[in-house]
């Protein structure tokens, strides 16, 4: 069970009457000759690392390696109540995303999903979704395979090296992965997941990498927050039936061609 584009992925979903995450689990089992338990356990470990990183930023006083940052996650979390401009759920998602980036910048343990520079997006979205909709860990771990399938398609058809292709390929991809996973968490079809991912990508097209004074955490951290919001709004729009005219595979082709013509300074 393997696929190289979203058309083949959808065919597999329909043929087996299953979700994107289930196709990805089956693919992993077959290609790497692993049991379902092994794979689920490994993904649960990754989710646990994401959770612990977000919690750590709320508990400890982290200082980044360059001494410039720390404490941002707490500020956002403390404001997640009635003073929040974005609403409680979005504010918490923002806080968790920033927290994971704080841990990353303080040489702590994170999951590169898909890269270290974009490692806040998926935990931010997933942890806030889990709390808000009271989802189980099993549901979250399964949804990570949906996100993984989207990231896999992007890697197959483009290149995941953010250093060469700008931030569209890091935070952009992370938010497309999260958007697709949110749709599956909410019980939507594989088509809806792919449309949400396509929306998330088109929203991020052309975003370069612009480190300030050679330091990646600025503006990297805040861009992870943008990735969180982009994932949630892309999922919401698609779940509400707003049409996505551009097929997912075409958005991949576009982001790839765009990364080839991006000036080196923005790569």
């Amino acid at each position: 069970m393997n696929f190289i584009d979203s058309k083949e992925l959808l065919e597999l979903c329909h043929k087996n009457n299953c979700s994107i995450s289930e196709v990805m689990i089956q693919r992993e089992m077959q290609l790497f000759k692993c049991s379902r338990e092994e794979i689920m356990e490994r993904m649960a470990h990754a989710y646990d690392i994401m959770k612990r990183a977000a919690e750590r930023a709320l508990r400890e006083n982290l200082v980044s390696m360059d001494g410039l940052g720390g404490g941002e996650s707490k500020r956002l979390f403390l404001n997640a109540g009635k003073h929040s401009v974005c609403g409680e759920m979005m504010s918490k998602a923002m806080s968790y995303a920033v927290g994971v980036l704080e841990v990353n910048c303080a040489m702590g343990l994170i999951v590169a999903a898909p890269t270290a520079g974009s490692s806040g997006v998926i935990p931010g979205v997933f942890l806030a979704m889990q709390e808000h909709f009271e989802l189980t860990d099993e549901q979250m771990v399964k949804a990570l395979f949906n996100a993984g399938a989207i990231g896999y398609l992007m890697t197959c058809n483009t290149s995941l090296l953010g250093a060469e292709s700008g931030y569209q390929m890091e935070v952009g991809i992370a938010s497309a992965m999260a958007a697709a996973a949110v749709c599956e968490m909410m019980g939507a079809s594989p088509e809806v997941s792919l449309d949400a991912a396509a929306t998330a990508i088109t929203n991020m097209l052309g975003l370069g990498c612009n480190p300030v004074a050679g330091v990646e955490e600025t503006p990297c951290q805040k861009r992870n927050v943008m990735g969180v919001s982009n994932a949630l709004i892309s999922a919401e729009m698609t779940l509400c039936g707003l049409k996505q005219m551009i097929p997912f595979d075409e958005t991949l082709d576009t982001i790839y061609r765009l990364s080839r013509i991006m000036p080196e300074e923005l790569g």
Partner: protein
Amino acid sequence: MKELSVFDIIGPNMIGPSSAHTTGALKIAKVAYQLAPKKLDKVTFILYGSFAKTYKNHGTDRALVAGLLGMNQEDERIKDAFICAREKGLNYEFRTSDSAHIKHPNTVDIIMQDTEGNTISITGSSIGAGAINIDKVNGMEVFFNGEYHTLLVRHQDQPGLVAHITNCLNNWKINIAYMRVYREHNGKMASTIVEVDEAICSQVLDAISNHIAVQYARIIH
């Protein structure tokens, strides 16, 4: 080309801040750790390109020392690698070079010296997303990337050595993915690097080493 796993996308699990500057550096140093002489006295790291410019802020120095201490990429002590090195008596030194003779911007030479003054060195580059290439071993140009279980055998350049190595692997039903022989001088010394699908146990190493023309055999990944 290896198939992508879902854990290449949701992963690797790693110590920040950068897969190229931290995780890749650690992986290169772990290859050095596997090759390290028994009585390691001193390690010199020579950093090139982007490694040379940003190694402090990106924790590349700590990751390199952590790799030499054998830590894995999820180890939360990587940040405190300098303290761990002091406790274990590992002497190290960092140098930078502005030489342009490098294949990739994130390149490091790791030179390990034992108490008798013998040196073992590797050159590796971190090519992005935590992936690495090992470009040189003891000054000899090689190519492997640590994606497979990897074996390095240094031996006399003479007929039958490759057959000896592959026989030993066959006896343990280990399948070879890639294999290359690098010769230093005709009829003198050569190194064989074998990348295999199954884990290599110490009995295989013993069997390979048990040949008069084999100087040493090491698992390097």
